[in-house]
Symmetry: C2
Subunit: 373 residues, 2 copies
C-alpha cells in the first residue's frame, strides 16, 4: 500500500473513526484503525464490538488523496492519532515497507510503525439492518442535546443508559431518564409504521460529534430490533441497541399543575448555581419556598452555613415548600432553549416539570427530594 | 465586624492569600483565611505553617473598602473562594451577625457561613528575619522561570526541591537541579555581603503568581538562615528555607566543549516533540546522531516502531552519537529565551549544555542516558 493525503483531512477522519475505539480493548486488533486503499478511495474502519464506524474518503481537490498502490493496513489508533497530530507537512505519505511495518512521512519527519495483522480484524457487517427513515441533522442534534444528559451513567439498569425512540401514529417520542429525572421530546414525524428502540447515549453523542456538523442536511437511520445504523454521505456509524423494556414513563408525568413559577431561564440557572456552593457527596440540595409575595431559594448545611436568595420571578398558586437537586434543575434548564421558562408543580412531593414558554415539544421532569428542614 | 468592599478586589486578594493554604490541613484553623478590619485597612492572612502570606488592602477608590465596625474573623478558605466567585454584585458586604456566624451579602444573594474560632489561629511573626536586599521584579521572575522547572519533585532529597541562591563577590548564582539536569542563572548583583540559601520552588512559584505582576518595580527579599521573606507594597510572603547543604554543582558543568550544535530554538522543541511520541514510563528517549553532513534525531521502540527526523541545524565537531530524555531538553530549551541556541557537548556520556546565543547568564545542563542501541 502506498498513498498520500492532506494531513489535516486525514487527521480529522482518524479522529472521527477513533471515537469507536477502546484503546485498552482486550482484543488487540480492535485497538487499531483499519485503513484500506481501494481504487480512488480510502476507507477507515474502527470498532469496539458495540459501536462501529466506517469513514470513506474519495479523492478530491480538498483531500489531495493519491493512491499509488492499493492495500490494507491495521495501525493502533493511539499511535496514528499521535502521528497525524505531530506530522510536519500539509501532505503526508503512508507506505507499507515490509510486512506490516508502515512508514508515515512528511517534510523532515519520518515515523515507522509496526502495524497489526489486518487479517485478524473482524468482519463487520455494514449492510442496512432494516427499515430506513431520514431526519434533518438539526432535528437529531436537538433530540440528542435535550435528552441524553438525563440518561443513567451507571449500568445497573442498562436500558436507562440510552434514549428511547418510539414512533407511533406519526408521533416520535424520544425519552431519556435515570429514574430521578426525565427528558422527553415529542413531535410529529411524518413516517409510516412504528418502532420502539433504545439507543445508547454514548452512541448518540458519537453521532453528534462526528456526523451532524459535516454540512449534510439529512441523516439516514436504519433500525432492526438489534441494531441502529446512522448514514451520511461518506460515513456510517452503527451500534447495538440496548436490551430490555424501556419503562413506561408517561404515567409519571403529571397532567395538571397547581403551582406555576415563571422565570428567565438564565436567571434560574445562575441563582441555583450561586446557592449551591454547599455540597455533600457532590450533590447540592436546594429548597424553594414559594408564595405569591416572594420566592426564596436556599441551600443549607448545619456545619457550614447557608445561602439564600430572593428569586426574580412570578409565582401563581398556594404556598409551596419543595426541595430538589440543584444540579438536576440546572441541567434541565440548560437543555431548554428559550429565554423564559415555567416550572410547574403539583405538590411538594410530586415530580415537577420545566417547560420552555415557546416550545411545547420538550418537557424536563425532576423528582423532588425529601428533606427534614 | 462589618465592612463592604469591591467584590473583584476582594476576590483577587482572597485568591492570592489562598495560595498559602492547604485545604486539608490537619489543623482546622489553618484551612481558614484570617480577615482583620482595623482602622481603614483589611488584612488577610493565610498560612500552611511552611508558607505564610499577609495581604493588606487600604481603603481607596478602586477597592471601595468601607469599614463600619472593626473586628477579626476566620473563614474556611474554600467557602470564601466559592462565595466571592458566586457573589452577584460588584460591592459585597461582610458582617459578623452572631458569634462566628458571618453574613456575606450582595444584591439578591446572601450567604451565611459559620466562621472558625479566630482565637485558635496561630500567631505568625511577619517581622523581617534578617538582612534585606531589593531586586527588580522582572529579574526575580526570570530567575524563577528559568530555574524552578529543573528542581526535584520528589522529597527524597528535600534540598533539591528548591532553588539555591548564592551571593559571593557581587555575583548571584541561582541553581535548580533534580540531579538529572540543572538550570543555573548567574549575574552581577550589586549588593555587599554573601548568602547561601535554598528556597522551595513551590514558594517561588507562589511569589511569581502573586507578587511579580502587581505593577511594583522592585521586590524586597529578607533572609535569615531559617526563613526568607518577600515584600512588595501591601503584601508579605514568607517561607521556611530548605535544610541541608546544596550540592556543589559547579564541578559538573564542563568548561570546554568539543561539539557544538547551533539551531533555532523553536525548531529544536518542535522536532523533539514530534519524535517523542513513543513513551515508556512517561519518559521519552531520543537519540541524536551528529556528523558535519547531517544531524539525525530518532526515537525507537522495539514493539511500536520508530520516528526519525533530519534536523535543520549546523554541527561542528567529530561524529557524535548521544541519547537523552527528550522532555528534559524541551524544558531546557523552553527556559531559554532567544531565537537561536547552541547545544554544547563534550562526549557521548558527558553532560551537555544548552545556551542562548544572546544571553550568557543562563545555562541549562542535561545528563545523557545510557542506551543499548
Amino acid at each position: 500500500m502506498n498513498f498520500s493525503i492532506s494531513t489535516s483531512v486525514f487527521a480529522t477522519a482518524v479522529g472521527m473513526t477513533d471515537r469507536a475505539i477502546n484503546a485498552s480493548s482486550p482484543q488487540p486488533s480492535l485497538r487499531g484503525i483499519k485503513i484500506q486503499a481501494v481504487n480512488d478511495s480510502l476507507i477507515l474502519t474502527g470498532s469496539n464490538a458495540d459501536i462501529s464506524i466506517m469513514k470513506t474518503l474519495h479523492s478530491d481537490e480538498e483531500n489531495n488523496l493519491t493512491i499509488v498502490e492499493e492495500g490494507t493496513i491495521l495501525i493502533e489508533s493511539k499511535y496514528l492519532l499521535d502521528i497525524v497530530r505531530k506530522m510536519d507537512s500539509s501532505i503526508m505519505t503512508i507506505e507499507v515497507i515490509d510486512g506490516a511495518l508502515t512508514r508515515f512521512s512528511g517534510d523532515r519527519a519520518v515515523f515507522k510503525i509496526n502495524g497489526l495483522n489486518a487479517l485478524d480484524y473482524p468482519t463487520i457487517d455494514f449492510s442496512k439492518p432494516g427499515d430506513t427513515v431520514t431526519m434533518p441533522c438539526s432535528m437529531l442534534k436537538d433530540i440528542i442535546e435535550q435528552t441524553t444528559f438525563a440518561t443513567a451513567l451507571k449500568e445497573t439498569r442498562p436500558v436507562l443508559t440510552g434514549v428511547n425512540f418510539r414512533l407511533d401514529d406519526h408521533i416520535l417520542r424520544c425519552t431519556g431518564t435515570d429514574s430521578y429525572r426525565l427528558a422527553k421530546k415529542t413531535f410529529p414525524f411524518n413516517v409510516d409504521g412504528s418502532f420502539n428502540v433504545t439507543i445508547p447515549s454514548r452512541t448518540l453523542n458519537d453521532v453528534k460529534a462526528t456526523m451532524l456538523d459535516q454540512g449534510e442536511e439529512v441523516i439516514e437511520i436504519s433500525l432492526s430490533d438489534k441494531k441502529a445504523q446512522f448514514n451520511i454521505e461518506d460515513m456510517v456509524l452503527q451500534t447495538r441497541l440496548l436490551d430490555g423494556t424501556f419503562p413506561d414513563v408517561d404515567r409519571l408525568i403529571p397532567s395538571s399543575f397547581d403551582y406555576v413559577l415563571s422565570i428567565n431561564r438564565n436567571e434560574l440557572i445562575r441563582s441555583i448555581d450561586r446557592t449551591t456552593f454547599i455540597r455533600s457527596d457532590n450533590m447540592s440540595i436546594n429548597r424553594l419556598q414559594c408564595s405569591e409575595n416572594e420566592v426564596i431559594l436556599t441551600s443549607k448545611s448545619q456545619e457550614i452555613g447557608e445561602s439564600r436568595e430572593n428569586l426574580d420571578c412570578t409565582f401563581n398558586g398556594n404556598d409551596l415548600d419543595i426541595s430538589f437537586s440543584g444540579n438536576y434543575v440546572i441541567d434541565a434548564a440548560r437543555a431548554l432553549r428559550g429565554e423564559n421558562i415555567t416550572v410547574n408543580f403539583s405538590g411538594d412531593m410530586r415530580p415537577f416539570v420545566l417547560k420552555d414558554e415557546d416550545d411545547e415539544s420538550v418537557i424536563q421532569l425532576v423528582l423532588p427530594l425529601r428533606t427534614y428542614n
